[in-house]
Symmetry: C2
Subunit: 515 residues, 2 copies
């Protein structure tokens, strides 16, 4: 495997899985050539005129779709850890003796540990998508036949749109669908809110199968997935395990340390003027992020201002802010609790978005850059503000990239992170895996002080006399090392087990085998 040093100084392969790769060239530096992937022109004459595309079961649908060796099968992760579809697909593939498949999920979850047997026996060649838990460990130990590829949500759309990943068969599980293939995630026992992660799959896959446990008479409204892209529909008893699809409630953190980080983050946004009437923000679904939005709400109430929009991951806290009038719109990419699902169904200003609208770098702009402030996590940050979100300091793949890379294009990016976790410092000379370039990361909030990227002289100026504890990132690093000692660099093997794509399809880093 030939490796070259890319623009951020990381050694990355020029070819994986027999496909040429382009090394990362810097933010906004690589310009794609060529045209979007063009799907075959379908004809109405190949589809039932009455619109009924229902076939008896998933196996029939896969056979009719021409399932065969070497194909790429895509699924989405709106059912999260309650997904019952992906495992079934590969059970069927195994039964049919099909080999060497590429699984292209928008994310994988612990429930997919079932698939390790198929990675071992050659049914599946590799996963291109996030891996955590047992799958992450399997891949990290170098046991997957092919090389994994991790992409952001926007990068996944981009890869499909640009033809980097040609999906042969997309299987789209839906809480609600009609026999024509219109589908949404809003209604039914498996409701998850929206189906945005399956949008690219529906538009670009050669064959599209919609599977539901709630088949309604045409028209299924809203048609988050349009039946005009769908080949076959399948009704089954259960597409997911409701309580694992979506939590009944989301909870803000009770940890005093995390609450402190959240409060400091909100205060920083307040004193620097980031929180202003008509501003916009995105916070994730983690406990700290949820708390940040609560502190935001307090500030907005106190100052009698409102936000123009919040980007979701939506949850009951964001919904209550919407319904209280603190937020005009929620632009939602993924619904995390039942209140989010209810709100999306009831409130016209709780809007479903997709990786195309929100995150696709290869479109005529996307929404990420319009967000005033985004609050994200990281496993590690280096002294140049480069950050890691995919691996832990021990080298194991443990998180997907999600929308993290895409959100870095927001106007201000803040990472509230503890200075150390389990006595392992989070700020390092070098991160284990570079997932995002430091020039896009503006502020690190730790319990022992806030570091502002030197590029953001405007924020440094605004925070100067605020009373906030501002430090350099070097000071923070040294402080952590004084307490925990300087962390040893983890020893990893030479073998590349996964690559991390940047939002433009170039390779920003490679993940080595854990030894």
């Amino acid at each position: 495997m030939k490796l070259v040093k890319n623009a951020i100084g990381r050694l990355v392969p020029t070819e994986i899985n027999g496909e040429k790769q382009i090394p990362y060239q810097g933010v906004d530096k690589y310009k794609a050539k060529g045209v979007k992937y063009a799907v075959k022109i379908p004809s109405n004459s190949d589809f039932p005129r009455d619109g009924n595309k229902t076939v008896a079961n998933l196996k029939d649908a896969l056979i009719k779709s021409g399932l065969k060796d070497g194909m790429t099968i895509s699924t989405h992760h709106h059912f999260r850890n309650g997904d019952l579809i992906a495992n079934q697909i590969f059970d069927i593939a195994k039964e049919l003796g099909v080999k060497n498949l590429r699984w292209y999920p928008s994310a994988s979850f612990p429930c997919h540990e079932h698939l390790i047997q198929y990675l071992e026996d050659g049914t599946i060649n590799r996963i291109e998508g996030s891996m955590n838990g047992a799958l992450g460990r399997f891949c990290s130990l170098g046991e997957m036949k092919g090389t994994a590829v991790l992409r952001s949500h926007g990068g996944r759309y981009q890869a499909v749109q640009d033809g980097e990943v040609k999906i042969d068969i997309a299987v789209i599980g839906a809480a609600c669908a009609d026999p024509f293939g219109n589908a949404n995630g809003l209604y039914g026992q498996s409701a998850s809110g929206l189906l945005g992660f399956a949008l690219a799959d529906s538009e670009y896959a050669d064959k599209v199968i919609v599977v539901t446990d709630n088949m309604v008479k045409f028209p299924c409204i809203p048609w988050q997935i349009q039946g005009n892209h769908v080949d076959y529909t399948v009704e089954m008893d259960k597409v997911g395990i409701p309580e694992k699809i979506i939590s009944g409630t989301t909870k803000i953190t009770k940890s005093p340390d995390r609450l402190l980080l959240a409060e400091m983050t909100a205060e920083f946004c307040d004193v620097t003027g980031i929180i202003h009437d008509g501003f916009s923000f995105q916070t994730g679904a983690g406990g700290t992020s949820l708390s940040v939005s609560q502190y935001f709400a307090d500030i907005m109430r106190k100052r009698d201002i409102k936000a123009r929009f919040a980007r979701g991951g939506s949850n009951k806290y964001l919904v209550s802010m919407l319904e209280e009038g603190l937020i005009e719109y929620i632009l939602d990419g993924q619904t995390f609790d039942l209140e989010g699902v209810r709100s999306m169904a009831e409130n016209n200003n709780h809007v479903w978005s997709s990786p195309f609208t929100s995150y696709n770098y290869h479109s005529k702009g996307n929404f990420a850059g319009l967000v005033d402030v985004v609050i994200l996590g990281a496993t590690e940050v280096d002294v140049n503000f480069n950050a890691n979100v995919a691996t832990h300091s021990d080298g194991y793949l443990l998180h997907g990239i999600g929308g993290w890379q895409n959100c870095l294009f927001s106007k201000t990016v803040i990472l509230p992170i503890p200075l150390f976790r389990d006595r392992i410092p989070v700020i390092r000379d070098e991160v284990t895996t570079v997932c995002g370039p430091g020039e896009l990361i503006d502020v690190i909030v730790t319990e022992r002080g806030i570091a502002i990227n030197p590029l953001r002289t405007d924020l440094i100026e605004k925070a100067k006399d605020s009373g906030l504890l501002i430090k350099t990132i070097h000071e923070l690093k040294e402080e952590a090392e004084r307490i925990c000692g300087k962390p040893e660099k983890v020893e990893l093997g030479d073998e590349v087990v996964a690559v991390i794509k940047w939002v433009d399809g170039t390779v920003i880093d490679a993940v080595r085998r854990v030894i």
Copy 2:
């Protein structure tokens, strides 16, 4: 110009405007090869990161879009006869000395008579789109430089999607938009309901300009047009003349003759079981069609049943049926009055559709085939049920095809038409222009009897003892000729001034010069 006889016996050219044409081969016979048109891959780096794509005016936007000789410029017709955009575009083109443009509107209206000067001086080479009034006359008399091409709404989407028509610059007028380019037709002084006719343009044009007189702060919700496809946005005082965009009210016919046709049509649908609980229908916006839906409503009330959905053109009558609970969903392609606009904004089950979802023959099915009954008009019908909707019996182009061809795929197609108009029989041995093949047209309702297509033995059987006045189409034709005399065939020139495309992009007929 080489002409060949196509599958429905019409002589059609094999090449027009320098482009090869495929003669019509029959319903469901021609199978497109190849792939959909692939647009260039854009990059976020070429667009402002803060999402503000606003430029000073339409002229600047056209210049930035690279307007030059020979380009294809598209517009939509949601502003109908109140459109102020298309004329401005070509005024600017004229001012810049640009020549030989192709105008690709989704329809033209009398207000576009202004463009005749540019057709004459070579600014515009030809129009591909419906022409009526002065433009229809101009084209019919052979005065347009290029050959016109008339397509259905679905055919227009198909032609763009398949790359038959490559749009260089799309100009999308919107009642409401944000600086990023998200747009809808719902709010503002120029509200017209939806923007579905501009969907293909936004997706496939090389450059996309959104023009609005109601620029709102991001996000413009709903984003019927997605800003991620848009290059430039322009704010101007007035994109349309409200009272010509949309009528304050739509009115059912008061003509006793037309009311009779409507009543007979509804009665036919009742006795043949077409009206049943959960059925679906589409009626147009003409007075007769509006009346049909009123008779449908009466029958549904009497029988205590409801329709699953109605396809719009929506209007106050359809809206009142929705709000009364007689219809569960309106799937709307074009909003005809202010009540329609209000309802679309207020009722989540008044759904905006597009020629992609509703009419595109080159997709994996469309909605047209799912409609139980569609009520359409025609200028002429022949004894084989072939019908004309584009020209009158004098040969002049006077109507666009609209969704008419696409709707022929519905389960039952009924044409309520007078037996003669101005003493000119409507049922003929041969129609002046074939727009739709008779095998798809099921029933002709005239004031002197109803003719059922012999292919529909099921309907013939059901209507047999109904008391309805059922006749053969030959009997109807003879009856008209007894009263009016046999119509003389109009003498037309040899020159082909326009072609009529079938839904699959093949040429079903040619329109000759009027002499």
